[in-house]
Subunit: 241 residues, 2 copies
């Protein structure tokens, strides 16, 4: 529990985790904390001695720039080891904050190092989880740079659906996520007004419905085609790593 089961599920989707490695993860001491909407989980500029794993709810990473504007560089779902990289980066160059109410568990770097010390494969699996994050970010770069606002939004919706499905939080073409249009703008790099316009376009084409924090994908196939969505980057292959 405490989200560690979801982490195992997320990793096990990519390569079988042997019993002893699962045991190492389950044995990690955790410090559970619940954050309210918009509360800061990890502060920019801080030097964390622990990493946090999402047990329930959502979190975003954001970089702030001058004049209070910000860009969300990642959306994290339950099972994501949000700032595992702080283990290596030491100083946070961005912050992590809760999207809606969010339960996380903190795990000390010290304990992580101990657990990984005896298991090169477990180390690689955790490394893999950061690598998948990177892969997602590459795709976001492409969406930001070379796709239209409409394609980009469609792409984000497809991605969230697939990622949430892995941890059992999406099915039947629908999922819940507490994302306002303003926050969506910070994800897409668009103004609120344009997010709204873009959302209308997808609605007009009967591709999605987005209401009361719940998204329904009316035609995944057409949505994915419009977005040019190809799930390869999510690394859903189960194989030796």
């Amino acid at each position: 529990m405490f989200g560690k089961d979801l982490l195992v599920r997320m990793l096990d989707r990519r390569d079988t985790l042997p019993r002893d490695e699962i045991a190492l993860i389950e044995a990690l001491p955790v410090r559970p904390v619940t954050f309210g909407p918009d509360e800061e989980i990890v502060r920019e500029g801080s030097r964390p001695a622990e990493s946090c794993l999402i047990a329930n709810g959502f979190a975003v990473r954001n970089q702030t720039i001058r004049e209070g504007r910000r860009q969300i560089t990642a959306i994290h779902v339950p099972g994501d080891f949000v700032d595992l990289h702080s283990l290596l980066l030491k100083v946070m160059d961005h912050s992590v904050s809760a999207l809606g109410s969010c339960d996380v568990v903190f795990i000390r770097h010290k304990d992580l190092l101990t657990a990984m010390g005896g298991s090169p494969h477990l180390t690689r699996m955790l490394w893999l989880s950061t690598t998948i994050d990177t892969s997602i970010q590459r795709t976001w770069i492409t969406c930001l740079g070379r796709r239209s606002a409409e394609q980009h939004l469609a792409h984000v919706i497809c991605e969230l659906y697939v990622r949430l499905e892995i941890v059992g939080l999406a099915s039947d073409q629908t999922f819940a996520i507490p994302l306002t249009q303003a926050e969506l703008g910070d994800v897409l790099g668009l103004s609120i007004v344009h997010v709204n316009r873009t959302l209308q376009e997808l609605r007009a084409k009967d591709l999605v419905s987005w209401k009361d924090r719940r998204i329904v994908i009316l035609d995944f196939q057409r949505l994915a085609l419009l977005a040019d969505f190809d799930a390869t980057y999510l690394n859903l292959f189960h194989e030796p790593r």
Copy 2:
């Protein structure tokens, strides 16, 4: 040599590499290959059994989208372990190609695993190198999403200068890089025409000169201020990792 000295230099800038770990790196068998301009080093969709390190020259990662358009998601300089992540990702979701003439060395995954097997710290240092890539990508996302074309271009120039300085390829506010305006457009997510306009703006402000594949930064301080450039994300801190 073969670029491994640069890799060591790049890592050693972040945490002292003990002699035995340097020896492990130096002992890695390499397969050197030289690529011509625009040649593909790693192909999208392939399943590499080796990772490549840049010894000399530059390489870019790019994702292609419909109609031959593309987005460059990273620029790699000598010393960069370009597709170290293929060790874990297995299937490439993007390609890597040479920018100008580029010498790389390929290192078998098998040999990397062996070298890392006995050294958790070396493993972390290599992991760190992929994590720095991620950090750079996060910053690119922010540039794409929330900064003006002018700021974005200025930011890229500042970043390249700092990164090249580490490996001794930039000094006195100048460095050479074989990047055409079309390619720059694929980095910034802009049209060629707009890249040109944006470059003119920086020239008009006497911030940079960009001619014959050589960039001269006329006023780093003002350029960094304009770009809102903060080098924290490049992790230039030397400390235990």
